[in-house]
């Protein structure tokens, strides 16, 4: 499904290398967790997967379903099934959330050669998905993310994910900013989307999220590389001992 091969990437503006020879394979249906200290390059990796222009891939490749996505722009990647739930979703004044959702859903349908959604069908889909995530429809009348609380923004990200039904879901610290109940709601939402042909890359600092969304594999990202991989027990080990030992071993 996803194969990242010896990826090197730098900040386009100043040439600082952030991703330094990263290798990672995620199989179809797999939930892979990525952990790692602050500043190790987790969000950068997620942005590069989504195609953000601020980063430049200098070598290596990203294969999605066997094909390189490096030449695709963010919209093409999304239409082919990549979704990023942002660590910090931006507030976009003037663009009503519902308009945005409809535009995004129809753009992806169009890219796949499907018919556009009729408004009543669209509203029905949003109501259903919002209900499952305890999102108030009134909130969706507001401009996109504007004035949403931290937790509401994260829920809105998962709502978009549910509506766009991507094949690869990258969740960047979706658990941060969520209260205990919201964490459960959001995790249930994610678990409900777990499927044979849908993979997840779950970036988190805490074992707590991984109790709800149980991963198939856990990877430690440090200074732009995966320095250790294991099963869910690796997360428990990190929770107990911190990163020092693993970093020491890798050095």
């Amino acid at each position: 499904m996803l194969e990242i091969k010896n990826l090197h990437a730098q900040i386009a503006e100043d040439g600082t290398e952030i991703i330094r020879g990263l290798n990672l394979k995620v199989e179809q249906g797999e939930v892979a967790a990525i952990m790692g200290p602050n500043g190790s390059g987790k969000s950068t990796l997620s942005y590069i997967l989504a195609g953000r222009e601020d980063y430049e891939v200098t070598s290596g490749d990203i294969l999605f379903n066997g094909e390189s996505i490096l030449e695709m722009d963010p919209a093409e990647r999304a239409a082919s099934g990549v979704f990023l739930a942002f660590q910090y979703p931006v507030e976009i004044p003037g663009v009503p959330t519902m308009t945005f959702l409809k535009t995004a859903m129809n753009a992806q349908r169009k890219a796949r050669g499907e018919d556009e959604l009729a408004t009543p069908d669209f509203i029905k889909l949003v109501k259903e998905a919002a209900g499952k995530l305890s999102i108030n429809m009134e909130m969706l009348k507001r401009p996109l993310n504007v004035g949403f609380s931290g937790g509401e923004k994260k829920r809105a990200e998962i709502l978009q994910m549910a509506l766009l039904s991507p094949e690869l879901c990258v969740l960047d610290e979706t658990d941060s900013g969520l209260d205990i109940d919201a964490l459960k709601i959001v995790s249930d939402g994610v678990n409900a989307l777990r499927e044979q042909n849908r993979s997840f890359l779950v970036i988190t600092h805490y074992q707590r999220l991984l109790e709800h969304i149980v991963p198939d594999s856990v990877h430690v990202l440090y200074k732009g590389q995966i320095i250790q991989s294991g099963d869910k027990s690796l997360a428990l080990e990190l929770e107990a001992n911190g990163y020092a030992e693993i970093i020491g071993k890798a050095a």
Partner: protein, 406 residues
């Protein structure tokens, strides 16, 4: 203020230059002056108006308020034929609006002519028709009234007179239409005490048109007035907004959207005078410039010495979407009172890359994502109208502009 009488006095005193002092008339000036000379129907007022214009010529960049729109050099030629503006060729902007007729001007309406600037002079010299509306005391207009001012190919000049008596309310839509030609259109609007009025100017002319508009407003006590101006068309456009806040406790709101495409020059110039204590005003102008479009917003706020507790805010935000486009903004605060809150701000930006990335990361192609952001930038202002049908109509004009220019 220049009246025919004061003009005669000035001329006697040698203060008004004579025609010969203009070195050489431009083609447009020649056309205008000879069109006037050939006019069958003249009056002492129209004579007075053309006299000032002949004396001074069209304004150049050396005239401060015309600094960014050098009319004398940009007004290349004027259609020789002077005709009449027409109304009723298109549907009203909103379904339930009723159309006001364009009629010959009465002497009473002509008495409102102001010749203190080029638009007033041109209009005073040539205007023969216009719409008029008088809303009586306490009367509440259930649905909007619409003025249509369509000019095709020829020159046409109109003066519209609207008054809202005390405690009346309503919405008036003024549409500037037509594919080409040269038009001046002056609106004189009187708003009585405690009246609530919305006035919407929608200028959507063809790309060959020259349009010189002016609205003169007097605002009574405790009145609420919202003026919305949308400019999407025209090759050379100037809309002047002159507000005399003359009644205590009144509020003036201006919302302006200028969508400026390649080859267009759109100038909005506001002169707002807070002349009495305890009044408020807020102006928000949003501009989008593409291609080699050129735009201007001049906003002057004058607060008289007695106008204590004035609260006036002005903001002008511009999305410059092309390196070849240009927008000039000149705020001017002239404050003579000491207990006031006045502020202004201007921003110039391109589309925010992080917004664009967010939208595209959801599968929205770049062109569509850009359009969504541009639309968001201006739609925010339209929402302030608080009139659903009107908002929809205006948003759909904006959408079709974006389809063509975005």
């Amino acid at each position: 203020m220049v009246t025919p009488k004061s003009l005669a006095k000035q001329r006697k005193a040698g203060k008004v230059m004579s025609v010969v002092s203009i070195a050489k008339l431009t083609e447009a000036e020649e056309m205008l002056f000879s069109a006037y000379d050939e006019r069958a129907e003249k009056s002492s007022q129209s004579d007075a108006a053309i006299a000032v214009l002949k004396a001074n010529g069209l304004p150049t960049r050396r005239v401060e308020s015309w600094h960014y729109t050098d009319l004398r050099s940009v007004l290349k030629n004027v259609p020789a034929e002077v005709g009449e503006a027409v109304s009723g060729k298109v549907d009203t902007l909103v379904g339930n609006a009723s159309l006001l007729a364009l009629d010959a001007l009465s002497n009473h309406e002509k008495a409102d002519f102001r010749f203190d600037d080029a638009i007033g002079q041109l209009n005073g010299a040539f205007a023969t028709s216009g719409s008029s509306l008088n809303v009586g005391a306490g009367e509440k207009l259930e649905s909007p009234k619409e003025i249509q001012n369509a000019v095709e190919g020829k020159a046409a000049h109109t003066t519209h007179t609207v008054s809202f008596a005390d405690k009346s309310s309503g919405t008036v839509i003024e549409r500037q239409l037509g594919e080409g030609g040269f038009a001046t259109s002056v609106t004189n609007l009187k708003i009585g005490n405690e009246a609530e009025v919305s006035y919407i100017i929608v200028q959507g002319k063809g790309v060959e048109a020259t349009h010189l508009g002016q609205i003169n407003v007097t605002l009574g006590a405790d009145a609420n007035f919202t003026l919305f101006v949308l400019n999407t068309g025209g090759k050379l456009v100037r809309q002047e907004i002159r507000i005399n806040v003359a009644g205590e406790g009144s509020d003036f709101q201006l919302r302006g959207v200028n969508l400026i495409g390649d080859g267009q020059h759109i100038d909005v110039t506001m002169d707002l005078c807070h002349n009495v204590p305890n009044t408020t005003s807020e102006e928000i102008i949003r501009n989008v410039v593409t291609g080699k479009g050129k735009g201007v917003f001049q906003g002057r706020i004058a607060v008289a010495q007695i106008a204590q507790k004035t609260d006036a805010k002005m903001a002008c935000n511009t999305l410059l979407l092309s390196d070849e486009g240009d927008f000039s903004t000149k705020p001017e605060l002239e404050i003579f009172a000491d207990d006031v809150a006045c502020g202004h701000g201007a921003t110039f930006t391109d589309l925010e890359p992080s917004y664009l990335f967010y939208l595209m990361s959801r599968g929205i192609p770049e062109k569509e994502a850009r359009a969504l952001l541009i639309k968001g930038f201006v739609d925010e202002i339209v929402e302030d109208l608080d009139h659903e049908a009107l908002e929809e109509a205006i948003v759909s004009i904006i959408d079709s502009w974006l389809d063509q220019n975005g």
